[in-house]
Symmetry: C2
């Protein structure tokens, strides 16, 4: 049975990606990171999702001694109440320096150690066009690096990064995940560290917009959850 490492954040996109990989017949090993994110809750959610899907998982604790991102630094403000067009401008403060590069490189280490042939990541270039490490071009480049710089690559069995959601709208992702029975009630998207989703950060706004456009109820918040600010549902 072919093996894949799946980067699982606990969010909606990565959970869907896990179910896509399972649907493609992979035995999945979930890699979860506790890297000092404000929304640490997503780590517990990711672990629950992995267990529910009956997958092996590993949670790596990364004590990054630096900040440089509003997701890591409680003194920085997380952008809020922006619509998708505002989000598309520039790189937001929620960008975490080299995050996907760090996560994929650790996934590559695990892949080589267990002989997995793919790394699945829920990156999306539609909603997160501001993040340089969420674009197709970046993953192509990384695939070349894995070919050049690993033992498996030298042996002609390079690990390949798969980003099955890269060019999908959030509503498409949700419809697809719904068919695959992704447990969206367990997924956590909000960037803030609160008990309930804030409904204001970019991630909450995109999630709500996605469910609304898909015509589906978000099992986490319930459909009755109205936009709380102007522009939330543009």
């Amino acid at each position: 049975m072919k093996k894949a490492i799946v980067l699982l954040s606990g969010g909606l996109d990565s959970a869907t990606t896990l179910y896509v990989a399972l649907d493609r017949g992979y035995k999945c090993y979930c890699l979860i990171f506790d890297y000092g994110q404000r929304h640490k809750k997503e780590v517990l959610k990711a672990e629950e999702i992995a267990r529910l899907a009956d997958c092996d998982y590993e949670t790596i604790k990364l004590s990054l001694p630096w900040r440089g991102s509003s997701l890591l630094d409680e003194n920085m403000e997380i952008p809020s109440e922006r619509d998708a067009s505002e989000m598309a401008k520039g790189i937001p403060s929620t960008y975490v320096p080299a995050r996907n590069t760090i996560f994929i490189s650790l996934a590559a280490g695990w892949s080589e150690a267990i002989g997995a042939d793919s790394i699945f990541i829920g990156a999306n270039a539609v909603d997160y066009s501001g993040y340089p490490d969420c674009r197709g071009e970046y993953f192509e480049e990384f695939n070349r690096l894995l070919k050049t710089g690993t033992r498996s690559g030298s042996q002609g069995k390079a690990i390949k990064i798969e980003a099955p959601l890269i060019d999908k709208e959030k509503s498409e992702i949700i419809r697809m995940g719904n068919k695959l029975a992704v447990p969206y009630e367990l997924t956590w998207s909000c960037y803030e560290g609160g008990e309930k989703p804030c409904a204001r950060c970019d991630s909450c706004v995109l999630r709500k917009k996605g469910f609304d456009e898909a015509g589906l109820e978000d099992p986490l918040t319930g459909k009755s959850h109205e936009p709380e600010f102007e522009g939330a549902n543009k």
Copy 2:
């Protein structure tokens, strides 16, 4: 003052690389990894070297839940009593899956967070020709990835990986480091976890050969340290 992250393992090559970066006028930030290596002693040595050079340093503890290398797995044997030509054949069991990719990606994160423009690494393609992540081609590929996949790259200020020892013989490295007053007595090369260098692992063999060819005394072991097996000094 321009800033650089220096990957410091505590070995001879990385210590020399730190002094090269300092000599080139960089303010250096040393990044040290405690990743479960058998020769954990090198971590303490790296920290001593950083302090002596009056550099900021960070030691990241990486609890990798996988093995896949004789440097990580005490049940695997570390190759010993091989001469340089034997070492050049294939990828040794001391290869750690994706290690340099993991280390450089974390260095890239720190670089972006503090605005450093370079990452220095003591990789060498002469002695470690078997390691795919120690070749010039790999670093060129990684530089392209850093251009494509980071905020600094998007802003036209991509971090650049510098591998100043990449094509040098060990004896050249030692002569160069000697001129720069690298404290070789503090460096640790041996792969085994012992109190004293084993004199048999690839790393000990290459170190001894380097000092001998440079015509210099290794302050760690003393010149009188004779090769203990046939072929040690070929």
